[in-house]
């Protein structure tokens, strides 16, 4: 042998002839089944390959590969294994001359076939399969680095290579048992088992894939998982995709995600179980891609997830929706939303905002819809948004809430569906809650102290933010409280929202507007005719809880003293229905619904605020002069003018509804009447309804100018105001919008022309 090597080295031009000779000899030996001689020939070839210099090898290699093929064609396992071992050695030799004419078709086909070997002798089977995997690895090494050789990424190769590797990866279990049982020696287990071998080969393959090749690898993976029904359960699928994601060049990882999502699209007719499983795999790998995703890719991924959600929602006839979602479609949606959240969680915060805005822009906007699908889509989008928002941590509120995003959120806050509003409130919670207070403030309570709350002084930019947006935010919250379908959960959620605003955003400068909102809510609880009694009680509970929190958070001690006095009074008079917890009190234990001193009264409040050092004088008029000011730009703004329609006797600018009974005991809408209406006396309701309709008609049919004329001619009138409020609340929201909005004047004109209208 040494002689041969020496000879070959000294006269490289003879190498080709040597190769040809060895091939002929080996061929004969194979056909005569003289395996020992075949091995010797192979050994000689190997040594020559290693010893000789690359340039001279080219033709010799042809002969060499023909021997290898010859051996592989043999049905003799030992020869196949011999050939593979040699080939693997060859594959590690770096050739520096291009070998563009070489083809590996047969090798790929044969090695793949070996990967599936089913020899009845399990030891032999294992060895041949391992040889197959190693052979594939060799072909990959030989081809990927050299563009001129076979394009290994062609589907014709990948469709063989990938399934062969996967097949060995998932048959691992049974085989390890076999290996153990049959006591296969180091020969097989020397380095590893066929499972790990196949896995590392797959890793190497995907690791070498350039962007254009990623799909070539992933496609067969998906096909294989489909064909072997490996989505449900998805343990193996998940494992595969994790391997792929961790081994791929990271800048391409999102291509894997995209391909998997395309697969999800293609499977839109598969059973929900399969889709859920695919989405689940997606959610388990998507985070890995998030780190590498940029710009349009991110939105594409999000968009694709949303589209799938939409498809899922519209998949079924609307009549079925809500009836039985037990068919797994719901799980599928949850899995998609989960994937969305996983993805978003790993994006930088600025992208999360983009995504939230993007999702928000996809939320169908409507006040009410007859199409249950629309509603469903809306719900799904918002749930997705909620999911993303939980992954986002706010720093500055103006960054968290860009105007257009805030606008859409607030608009959705007054949607007619209570569930939709509830989700929006929860989104607000997660976005507002920078200091982890939300969980402590999930329910309205008056048992709270400053030490319970994580507080940080409100920054300048946050103050500017709330100044700028207080009106919009408060109006929307107020309007959402007017909804008759609010559950106690909704009201609790409003409490949490207000509490978080209070903690995160309020300072002495901005507290006044907030208090006005609270008082308006109290007023709503007293005067509204359409809310249920329970809802009104809940509003009172909300009001007292939140105003206490304001006093605590902003350190307004006199205010706190006053609020505590009111709370004491409520307890004293056993008016527990006006106190939290909102969900428990449902019966009136006190002598009357609103016994004296249980409400937050404006004069006392004003005093308390003054004593707390809040500068009220800078505002025009008394504290509450503008308590409606934040509704001016909305459909509610006309209430102010109607307030003044009649009853000139009533001149108390500071009167609150609770004090009315002193002034107008005989009025229909006196406190007594209101009380009756609170108790839902049908007779009163009918009577009221008639009057309401009249007023409503008048309102609708009278021009703005006329209304202004009427209102300027009149003076403050509390009871009528409440009446009008009732009317308004009766009218469908959308009606109000269309009827009123067109005749709206911008706020400044309003304020300057009729300042007194707002003092009621």
């Amino acid at each position: 042998m040494e002689k041969l090597t020496f000879y070959a080295l000294s006269s490289p031009e003879k190498l080709d002839r040597i190769g040809e000779y060895l091939f002929q000899k080996a061929s004969r030996d194979i056909s005569r089944k003289r395996n020992e001689f075949v091995m010797i020939a192979m050994e000689a070839m190997d040594q020559l390959l290693v010893a000789c210099h690359a340039q001279t090898l080219n033709l010799f290699v042809e002969s060499y590969l023909r021997i290898v093929q010859k051996l592989l064609e043999s049905s003799e396992p030992s020869l196949q294994i011999l050939a593979t071992q040699s080939f693997v050695r060859f594959s590690n030799i770096e050739e520096d001359t291009p070998s563009y004419h070489r083809r590996y078709d047969f090798f790929v086909s044969k090695f793949s076939s070996m990967c599936h070997n089913n020899n009845p002798n399990l030891v032999t089977m294992e060895m041949i399969r391992m040889a197959g995997i190693k052979g594939i690895q060799g072909v990959i090494r030989k081809t990927v680095s050299d563009d001129l050789v076979e394009n290994i990424w062609e589907p014709v190769h990948m469709d063989k290579i990938v399934p062969s590797l996967l097949f060995n990866m998932h048959t691992m279990k049974s085989k390890t048992d076999i290996v153990v049982e049959s006591g296969i020696s180091e020969e097989v287990n020397d380095k590893t088992d066929s499972f790990s071998l196949a896995e590392s080969c797959l890793r190497e393959l995907i690791g070498r894939a350039s962007f254009g090749h990623v799909k070539s690898v992933i496609r067969p993976v998906l096909k294989h998982l489909d064909a072997h029904h490996m989505w449900v359960p998805n343990v193996f699928a998940t494992q595969c995709f994790r391997i792929l994601m961790f081994s791929i060049q990271s800048q391409y990882s999102y291509a894997v995600v995209e391909t998997l999502m395309t697969h999800l699209d293609e499977n839109s007719n598969a059973s929900p179980k399969i889709r859920t499983s695919i989405a689940d795999v997606l959610s388990k790998i998507i985070a890995i891609a998030a780190n590498e995703s940029v710009g349009p890719t991110v939105l594409e991924i999000i968009n694709s997830l949303l589209t799938n959600l939409r498809t899922s929602v519209t998949r079924r006839p609307p009549s079925n929706i809500g009836l039985s979602e037990s068919d797994g479609e719901n799980e599928y949606r949850e899995a998609l939303i989960h994937a969305l959240g996983e993805f978003a969680a790993h994006l930088p915060d600025y992208q999360k905002i983009e995504i939230m805005m993007f999702i928000m822009s996809k939320v169908p906007q409507f006040k009410s819809s007859n199409n249950p699908n629309d509603l469903h889509v809306q719900r799904m989008c918002l749930k997705s948004l909620l999911m993303v928002s939980t992954k986002y941590s706010s720093v500055q509120m103006n960054a968290t809430f860009p105007q257009s995003f805030l606008d859409l959120l607030l608009k959705t806050l007054t949607a007619s569906e209570d569930e939709i509003r509830f989700i929006v409130l929860r989104i607000l919670h997660t976005l507002l809650d920078r200091h982890n207070n939300a969980s402590k403030l999930s329910k309205a309570t008056v048992n709270i102290s400053k030490s319970d709350i994580n507080l940080e002084k409100c920054s300048r930019s946050d103050t500017i933010f709330i100044r700028k947006h207080a009106q919009d935010i408060y109006v929307s919250i107020y309007e959402s409280l007017e909804m008759t379908n609010n559950t106690v959960d909704n009201i609790e959620a409003v409490y949490t929202t207000l509490a978080l605003i209070c903690i995160e955003l309020l300072s002495e400068e901005t507290v006044l507007d907030f208090i006005r909102l609270i008082l308006s809510i109290q007023e709503l609880a007293i005067t509204n005719a359409v809310l249920s009694t329970q809802q009104k009680f809940q509003l009172h509970g909300l009001v007292i809880s939140i105003i206490l929190l304001v006093a605590i958070v902003t350190d307004l001690h006199p205010l706190k003293d006053y609020v505590e006095k009111v709370i004491e009074q409520r307890k004293l008079l056993n008016a527990t229905h006006l106190l939290p917890e909102l969900s428990v009190h449902n019966e009136v234990k006190s002598a009357s619904l609103l016994p004296a001193g249980v409400l937050i009264e404006e004069p006392e409040l004003t005093e308390a605020l003054k004593a707390s050092g809040i500068d009220i004088t800078t505002e025009t008029g008394p504290v509450l002069a503008h308590r409606r000011s934040w509704v001016e730009n909305t459909n509610m703004s006309m209430k102010g003018s109607f307030t003044d329609l009649s009853n000139l006797d009533l001149d108390s600018v500071n009167s609150t509804p609770a004090m009315q009974r002193r002034f107008s005991p005989n009025e229909d809408l006196s406190f007594e009447a209101m009380k009756r209406s609170l108790l839902d006396n049908p007779a009163v309701r009918v009577e009221q309804n008639t009057r309401q309709t009249q007023l409503c008609d008048m309102f609708r049919n009278t021009s703005f100018q006329d209304l202004v004329a009427i209102s300027t001619a009149s003076k403050d009138e509390e009871s009528l105001h409440s009446k009008i409020t009732d009317v308004f609340n009766k009218v469908d929201v959308s009606n109000k919008l269309s009827a009123v909005e067109t005749s709206q004047q911008p706020k400044p004109i309003y304020e300057t022309l009729f300042p007194e209208l707002f003092a009621f």
């Binding site: 061929s27 042809e62 093929q69 064609e73 083809r103 086909s109 793949s112 599936h116 097949f167």
Partner: protein, 201 residues
């Protein structure tokens, strides 16, 4: 010198259990394997035969009929020179699936591939598909037709020899002859359609 003049790739397809592996074993090893297990993935066999004093090497790829291996088996269709589509004459379902198989072949195989329909297991008594039905089907789809028994070695040799002869004819008519330029199994890249049929020298 290579020990053959032509190299053809033959792929066997058909439902699980129709006898693909048995046919190949009968042809390549001259035996009917008892208790033949289902094929996993793809099996490979080689056999060199002599036709008109010329050596023809047949690479035979025996695919698994089981559905779950469909994606890998399909990847072998493409390079096939001949496809043998097999059904079991005692099993109507295996015949009913032929249309599906043809669709797959159309999708994945070379459109010039030689297609042969084989009804196997004619040694059995309980025939469900009459001979003429198979014959008709083959005719309608422009295929050769043959009935075989791997067990009794009926028509097995004939099947492969016919295929080899026909492929040889094709190859020759395309101008490939023994004195065409030297080509090795590894350098047939240039013109697949012609050179693939033949491995010269």
């Amino acid at each position: 010198m290579e020990d053959y003049k032509f190299l053809f790739k033959v792929v066997l397809v058909g439902n699980a259990g129709v006898g693909k592996t048995c046919l190949v074993r009968r042809f390549t090893q001259g035996m009917f394997p008892p208790g033949q297990g289902a094929t996993i993935g793809v099996d490979f066999m080689i056999k060199t035969i002599e036709i008109d004093n010329e050596k023809v090497k047949l690479q035979i790829w025996d695919t698994a009929g089981q559905e779950r291996f469909r994606s890998i088996t399909q990847s072998y269709y493409r390079s096939a020179h001949a496809l043998i589509l097999i059904y079991d004459i005692t099993s109507q379902p295996t015949f009913d699936c032929l249309n599906d198989w043809l669709r797959e072949i159309d999708e994945y195989a070379n459109n010039r591939v030689l297609r042969v329909l084989v009804g196997n297991k004619i040694d059995k008594e309980d025939r469900e598909i009459p001979s003429h039905v198979g014959q008709d089907f083959a005719q309608r789809h422009d295929m050769r037709y043959l009935e075989t028994s791997a067990k009794q070695a009926d028509n097995v040799e004939k099947l492969f020899v016919q295929i080899a002869s026909e492929l040889m004819e094709q190859a020759k008519s395309k101008g490939i002859s023994s004195d065409s330029p030297q080509s090795l199994p590894f350098n047939t890249r240039t013109s697949k359609s012609i050179n693939d049929y033949c491995c010269n020298r």
